[in-house]
């Protein structure tokens, strides 16, 4: 939950972005963006209501490493003239122009006419969210049409790219420094803005998935123990039921080792079949998750190897005692067993 102070913060401005671009030495590029959560786009009889409208600058391509596929990107001239040009993402292009080349066509965005000058390259999904359902216009044009839209419907971000990975920390320090000055934060007061890096997002992601993996590992360990005890039980019953068979085998010359390995192999077969069944279930589950949920899922080769290895090991560990019991049976007693 955001704090009251956070809700009443002064918005960042393009001037802040310009200041950062001028002063920060460890940055290679700065890209301010305005973002409208959704816009209505229309071309002839086709319409789409979901795309994100982004007001961007010429720096956007380089800072985000997202480039125009064909056509052109926003130019300095577009910025100056606040021209009505747009660059749609792949999803938008498909929705409005299923059979035509969108370049140089005029479309309506929230009722205003724009000329399509370029097409964004496909970016794919992130957590099931398409990153291609977007349309870009010059940030100056955005300000022309949406000067006073309140947050969060319209949001302003400044995205910056450091010279290299090694400069992430110093870039964050510099940006903080510059913004404090721009926004007149007194020394000793806390920041009234937030600076985050991709690394910190990555940390949160890793923490989440790491914790999930840990819980799942614990659960599967318990499941393996329960399964193993089940296997041991079945093998003990099997040894008792087959006491006479063991007696016969011993009478015709089976050694303790022969009997031991016979029952161990049976236990391992049992758990290996379980392992293969689990593998099939896991594979199917991951396919379903991939298909029907936003999370990407697949079964890596090492997991298959470890899964089969552990299920075989469970067979050996929990089969050992029953097998040993079978091997130690006295042949005379075993032959007499009814």
């Amino acid at each position: 939950m955001p704090k009251a102070e956070e809700l009443h913060r002064k918005e960042l401005t393009i001037a802040d972005a310009d200041a950062i671009r001028r002063e920060a030495a460890s940055l290679a590029g700065v890209s301010p963006i305005h973002r409208l959560i959704s816009a209505t786009l229309r071309y002839e009889d086709k319409q789409t209501d979901t795309p994100v409208l982004i007001g961007a600058t010429p720096y956007y391509e380089f800072v985000h490493s997202q480039y125009v596929d064909h056509g052109r990107w926003i130019s300095d001239g577009d910025m100056e003239a606040r021209s009505n040009i747009c660059i749609p993402g792949v999803d938008v292009a498909h929705a409005l122009f299923p059979y035509e080349d969108p370049l140089d066509k005029d479309i309506k965005i929230n009722g205003n006419t724009y000329r399509v000058v370029g097409l964004m390259e496909p970016l794919g999904n992130f957590f099931g969210q398409s990153r291609d359902n977007t349309v870009f216009i010059p940030i100056t044009t955005y300000d022309k049409y949406y000067p006073d839209l309140p947050s969060p419907e319209s949001a302003f971000f400044i995205i910056a790219r450091p010279i290299s990975r090694a400069y992430v920390k110093s870039a964050m320090d510099e940006v903080t420094e510059i913004l404090r000055r721009q926004r007149r934060v007194r020394p000793g007061d806390t920041d009234n803005f937030a600076v985050t890096s991709q690394d910190s997002l990555l940390d949160i992601y890793n923490q989440l998935t790491g914790a999930t993996a840990l819980v799942l590992t614990a659960v599967s360990f318990v499941a393996l123990m329960i399964g193993g005890i089940g296997v041991m039980n079945i093998m003990l019953v099997s040894v008792t039921e087959r006491t006479r068979e063991i007696g016969i085998r011993k009478a015709v010359g089976a050694t303790r080792g022969n009997i031991l390995s016979q029952f161990l192999v049976e236990a391992v077969c049992l758990t290996a079949i379980g392992g293969v069944a689990g593998l099939i279930v896991g594979e199917v589950a991951s396919l379903l998750v991939n298909k029907y949920s936003p999370l990407p899922a697949f079964v890596p080769l090492w997991a298959i190897a470890i899964g089969l290895g552990i299920s075989a090991a469970v067979g050996i560990i929990f089969g050992l005692w029953p097998a040993w019991k079978a091997a130690r049976l006295d042949p005379i007693e075993a032959l007499r067993y009814e």
Binding site: E245, R249, A254
Partner: protein
């Protein structure tokens, strides 16, 4: 044991210079039991199932061991079959001293030297006749082709070639016992040891099985039959009677 010629009947060396000491003489007989005792602990009491039994069986003999229940004949059979070891005394089979062997050595002796035939057949219920006969060869470590060949020959010897792929529950009692005999003989053991082989069979089938034993004996097999039925014992050439853990009589019939 190659210096056995130096040994004396007492088992101790009598050489004047005493260079070689041979403790045990290897008996010439196929089976040799010397002063065998078997004692069980029942609570605080010691029960002697066998009190100093001694006898020899030569190669090619057909011997019946007869005695009422509780006479110690089952104990004796278990010892002859190397399923158990004596508390005291020495037991030699085919030149090997079995008395002090451990479990795995006994298993190997059972595999190579003894062919068992049981009253209740003791076949593996879920395996075919052929597989049952192959079983001792598996534990002998034989390759599968060789095993197949030998098992087929053995089943042919008991006239069951046409029932090879049948399971025990698809066979008559007499046929089951013949499978068991084929299994007993497949590894060419020193002795065929039968425990009440006709106990679960009707008179007619019993007669057939005893004829088969007679035939096997005539082919040079050494046979020991443990029974409590006098007319089964009467088919043998020598009868050893056991009573109260001792040999009561050891007589040659023919």
């Amino acid at each position: 044991m190659s210096d056995a010629t130096l040994a004396t009947p007492t088992g101790a060396s009598a050489l004047e210079h005493g260079e070689v000491l041979v403790r045990d003489a290897v008996p010439a007989a196929l089976i040799s039991m010397r002063d065998i005792w078997k004692t069980y602990q029942m609570g605080s009491e010691e029960v002697h199932a066998l009190h100093g039994v001694s006898f020899d069986v030569q190669k090619g003999e057909y011997v019946a061991i007869i005695g009422p229940s509780g006479s110690g004949k089952s104990t004796l059979m278990n010892l002859i079959g190397c399923l158990d070891t004596p508390s005291k005394g020495e037991y030699w089979i085919n030149g090997k001293n079995v008395s002090e062997m451990d479990d795995d050595e006994l298993a190997r002796i059972r595999n190579k030297e003894v062919g068992f035939v049981f009253q209740t057949f003791n076949l593996l219920a879920r395996a075919t006749a052929l597989h049952n006969v192959e079983l001792p060869l598996i534990y002998a470590g034989m390759s599968s082709t060789e095993r197949h060949e030998k098992a087929k020959q053995s089943l042919a010897a008991v006239e069951l070639t046409d029932r090879m792929m049948h399971k025990p529950n698809e066979l008559s009692g007499g046929q089951r016992q013949r499978v068991a005999i084929a299994r007993a003989l497949v590894n060419h053991p020193s002795i065929l040891l039968a425990d009440e082989p006709t106990g679960a069979l009707d008179t007619h089938t019993s007669y057939e099985i005893m004829n088969l034993f007679e035939k096997l004996h005539s082919e040079g097999n050494t046979i020991i039959v443990v029974t409590h039925e006098p007319d089964i014992a009467a088919r043998a050439y020598r009868v050893i009677s056991i009573r109260d853990g001792m040999i009561e009589k050891d007589e040659r019939l023919r």
